[in-house]
Symmetry: D2
Subunit: 388 residues, 4 copies
Amino acid sequence: MDKAVFPGRVRLGMVGGGEGAFIGAVHRHAARLDDRYELVAGALSSTAEASQRSGRALGLDPARIYDSYGQMAKAESAREDGIEAVSIVTPNHMHAPVARAFLEAGIHVICDKPVTTNSADARMLKALAEERGLIFAVTHNYSAYPLVRHAQRMVREGALGQIRVVQVEYAQDWLAEALEQGGQKQAAWRTDPAKAGGGAIGDIGSHAWQLADTIVGAPVEALAAELSSFVPGRVIDDDVQVLLRYAGGARGMLWASQVAPGHANDLRIRVYGSKGGIEWAQQHPNELRWTPLGEPTRIVERGSAAMNAAGARVSRVPAGHTEGYIDAFAALYSEIASHLLARRCANSGAAAGDARFPTIDDGLRGVLFIEAVQASSRAGGVWVSLSD
Amino acid sequence: MDKAVFPGRVRLGMVGGGEGAFIGAVHRHAARLDDRYELVAGALSSTAEASQRSGRALGLDPARIYDSYGQMAKAESAREDGIEAVSIVTPNHMHAPVARAFLEAGIHVICDKPVTTNSADARMLKALAEERGLIFAVTHNYSAYPLVRHAQRMVREGALGQIRVVQVEYAQDWLAEALEQGGQKQAAWRTDPAKAGGGAIGDIGSHAWQLADTIVGAPVEALAAELSSFVPGRVIDDDVQVLLRYAGGARGMLWASQVAPGHANDLRIRVYGSKGGIEWAQQHPNELRWTPLGEPTRIVERGSAAMNAAGARVSRVPAGHTEGYIDAFAALYSEIASHLLARRCANSGAAAGDARFPTIDDGLRGVLFIEAVQASSRAGGVWVSLSD
Amino acid sequence: MDKAVFPGRVRLGMVGGGEGAFIGAVHRHAARLDDRYELVAGALSSTAEASQRSGRALGLDPARIYDSYGQMAKAESAREDGIEAVSIVTPNHMHAPVARAFLEAGIHVICDKPVTTNSADARMLKALAEERGLIFAVTHNYSAYPLVRHAQRMVREGALGQIRVVQVEYAQDWLAEALEQGGQKQAAWRTDPAKAGGGAIGDIGSHAWQLADTIVGAPVEALAAELSSFVPGRVIDDDVQVLLRYAGGARGMLWASQVAPGHANDLRIRVYGSKGGIEWAQQHPNELRWTPLGEPTRIVERGSAAMNAAGARVSRVPAGHTEGYIDAFAALYSEIASHLLARRCANSGAAAGDARFPTIDDGLRGVLFIEAVQASSRAGGVWVSLSD
Amino acid sequence: MDKAVFPGRVRLGMVGGGEGAFIGAVHRHAARLDDRYELVAGALSSTAEASQRSGRALGLDPARIYDSYGQMAKAESAREDGIEAVSIVTPNHMHAPVARAFLEAGIHVICDKPVTTNSADARMLKALAEERGLIFAVTHNYSAYPLVRHAQRMVREGALGQIRVVQVEYAQDWLAEALEQGGQKQAAWRTDPAKAGGGAIGDIGSHAWQLADTIVGAPVEALAAELSSFVPGRVIDDDVQVLLRYAGGARGMLWASQVAPGHANDLRIRVYGSKGGIEWAQQHPNELRWTPLGEPTRIVERGSAAMNAAGARVSRVPAGHTEGYIDAFAALYSEIASHLLARRCANSGAAAGDARFPTIDDGLRGVLFIEAVQASSRAGGVWVSLSD
């Protein structure tokens, strides 16, 4: 099969995401939806055989299905039509070595979160990406929902006044029992400290932090945290509760749990300021509740005339036609594509416009947040300062 | 650009869906999401110039961007690598001639709804498709939501007992003012009887009917209807209210409106039987309310363990990660792809499994429903029998 | 026990509402809540013995516990401190003879709905009340919810523009099985045509009609209806579906059902006009959804600054502290009390202000509505005109 | 006016609750609804004149309208038909002296919360009540909602398994601006440390704590808290965030805020255990969400067959007919009345059955909780142990 990629599309590779994986398929859907990427190479599994099987099932050219990420970085950087960017969708502990290999090969990186399992690795990647002048995107996908962008813009423009209180939570129930002891693959690596780097705090707490970070626009200065492991036999946290002090004086609470029956994937945020409050929930992402102080709550619908330009830019279908998880993930990929294509055509004057995405800077800050939470909890829930 | 399509993908063409269109882009997203189609040809606009512009923007081979659908049907059927199926996404009055041309060229058809503007045309297409042995899919997309499939299966298996009452509605507000008088393209053709064939009843009432039809599984035997045109100057219905008598004794009400402020695209259905009731709403499609008689209402979540196999088959992401409009539209396209690919490889024993989609039979029944509603209303809201 | 009633309270009697009754206790709670009535006499049950037992349990003076309503009307009208008003809370077929007896004795009447089982009786009562100059209140309690009053005022003031579409429904599930065959007292009389006068249409359909009537403020001119009896062995309707044509051009649908699993007492109304739409549901009565055309939906909370004076007047606790069924029923009783006390003190210049309540006129119109629905259904669902 | 109180009713007095008060009227509604109390005496305002005016408006015998609470305690204890219990509804700082006066006069006490402004006073009252053998009820009204009682029973019976996580919050927005500077009476005393004893933590945080305490049934062993005063010029906390460690290992978060736009009176609780989770919100008090682990969420409706006996006992109207704030407050008063009447008739064998209510023990524990929160916050959010 001989394929030439339409110039409007980014030539993409993938590491991880083979048979039995979850998030790899999501990245592929996300890359495909707006037709701005074409997946042309991969090292999808940890064994050569599984990698081949996975790659062929996806219709990849067999010559570009690799046995290892190292081989792939080397071979692709040598091709004239080699990949421009790589999506890294392995377990967390592999993010750093894989990203390093591709950055060193001059290839842009799109990496799942948390970007690394420790801040030293994240600092190393940040330095390397800066040195090579490469894009390093971190797929904090929840930041790309249209109404999250809308909320972010509202706060920036002062619609809520001075921010006072932030309540963010991410509740799940899939780890309320010891799935990992039964061999469930997703549960196994996510509850293994060596592979995951953190439990609920890393897997979903980092999303909650980042969602708040996106909207509030001020850094956390200090926190006090309690990590718990409720399920008998579990060696990693499955529940986390944090008090937050934001720069500028806002106070916050963050709760992330994987043992909360009734919540499949319930990420929610509420932000209150001197002039109003907003509420958004990932399980009903097409609505934002907005209350100007002293007035009735408004239901702002995604796609409606009430949505601002920042939200509209990443919105795809009209109001009332719901968008979901893949839509927002795809919006993030499209935002990244705008930058990748602008970079490719920089000499032709192409530009990424207002497109934006979380970078290695955000990734590093997220890892520092995780480490601070872990440090606080280890010390009995004391207050810990954050500084980069 | 020389492209060979991965054999796992259907070679697809499109008629309509060029610049300024809404539903064409949705069909393309839907065809692309699960990577089972590759769009390779198109006659996208009504002028040759616009068609070329639209096709190039999509990365089509310029040789396969056609000035007219007739030219396209002829040329593609002559190519060895010609399209296997065509998606028809024009205004309603063009469905029949376009579909006819492709059926006569031996090409499978995927057509938007209502399939035609009159039942004579629909009967003609049904006969033609049967005669040629071709697939004719009608994109009643709402039938492909996982929880709609789940509900359909529940009813079939008797979980609700004998069906007694059906309440279905589809409310919008975008035509509450005379947009068509301001030149809005979507409003203009949809409120032109010659192009649309019907107003609210055709555009959204037909979806509501079909959603009920999917779940209830019994035909409407008689109806009494009121069509209204509330917006001054409008010559087509913008609100419809119908009483329904189903075979088997159930009684129903159908309301479709484009003048209901507060509803962007609010399709909802409730079905009550002797053993329980269910409720589903398109604006919150990841939840189904189910009440076994005498017990608390359950919230059945898409992707959860409570979803049956019929729902799970068209579901893509885990519970709590929402799916939306494009996900379900893509599920329908994938169901059709399973049949198209099984047909292509029939001699190799490939099969479509449980995949299913609305066909020209459903399309014809939908047009007969619309005609019965119009006949009842014209006669003052009298009861009219339906029989095919 | 010798009691003198505080002059700020109305001296009230009750007929019906003894042991085993439901609505009698509700009327007593309603009369008591705002401390504007004192129950001082009663003929509470159909036997003398049960009546005595019920009366003593309520703390009534034994001398004013009567064996029959006739005896009570006679004795109370003869006392200087006799009752000023009587609450009639018997099964429907007894409303007319009881009300007649008290009107003839010069005593004001507060009567449950439907006011009678036929329009001839309702006309008789209307004539009698007018002739004697007595107050005749009908307890359509749903009209007294603060947000219903708010909505009524909104429509009157034109906030919704020209009313186009009315959707009202009242769904229950308690009669989805044949409770009446098991001897349940409430089910027994409510499904007996001789005692109830109508099934779902009389018991709850009349409430739905009256709620719409309160808010819309225009009469129904014609209707087409289907009454169904779904439960095997039932001789009265348990489901009703009606198309409505309102004076002024609005079109409506009314659904009332007692066989809809998942709905305990689900009265809802939606009204759409050229400038906006509203939605209110009795099961969440402290919120009104209001959508000005083209703007986000607002959640107007009972008790908030956004509630107008008509709503505020019958509201008791601040926003966020919910009011419920008894609160609204009590608000209605207080509205009636304002009129009863104003009447008592007419020479002292007391006035009822803006207080209002459904009267025998509304009661008669309700019975005519029920009769029209029954006539339409008997004739096969034909259109029937309403005129008083 | 000469009145004898029906023996089925408790003779009640009230201190506070005169003109301009909020909670006094609520207590009167609550006492009246189930007809188990008769208000016969009062010292309703801080001046003799206002007290007389308020008492007469309520229809009290002028001889039993007192100028001061001291006078009232003395006079009523001397009457043969004197009050059996007093409701104390003054600002917080007056609770202790008033309660003491009535306890010393041998009169049972029903007191609003927080029971005192410091734990020393609470301990004094507890000792005094025990010494005199008197009932001392604290009106933590939220503990008397039927579904709260249902939830409490569920937890006791192990339906949720081992409790792991508690999330409780009470959000309001009425103090988001400096109302107290404009002379609003309710705002003025509630933001005055001398009169209130605490801001958000005392006024609503104590309710949140008590609601969790009721359901969880295990004490808080330690906490870390942040009190904030966001509104410029305010000298008392208007927001509080607390981490909680419960005996038995559960971890919790408590948030109370009076500066959260969009929340009128939004008290919510979620409790998660090893076998399931529940959620209840005071603004929609007739529904409880219950998720048995691995199964769909159930909506348990107040009044339905799914409600247990503990809930049913304090429920008044059938499912679907909503109960609200006054209903639950009245349920609490009725629970107290059962005890007061059982005490009065102890020699006749009367019993209070399962009736229960928060006592001075709970009141003291609540004050200790408030003091611990204040101590933690003063010390920079450190962990503080609670022990009685």
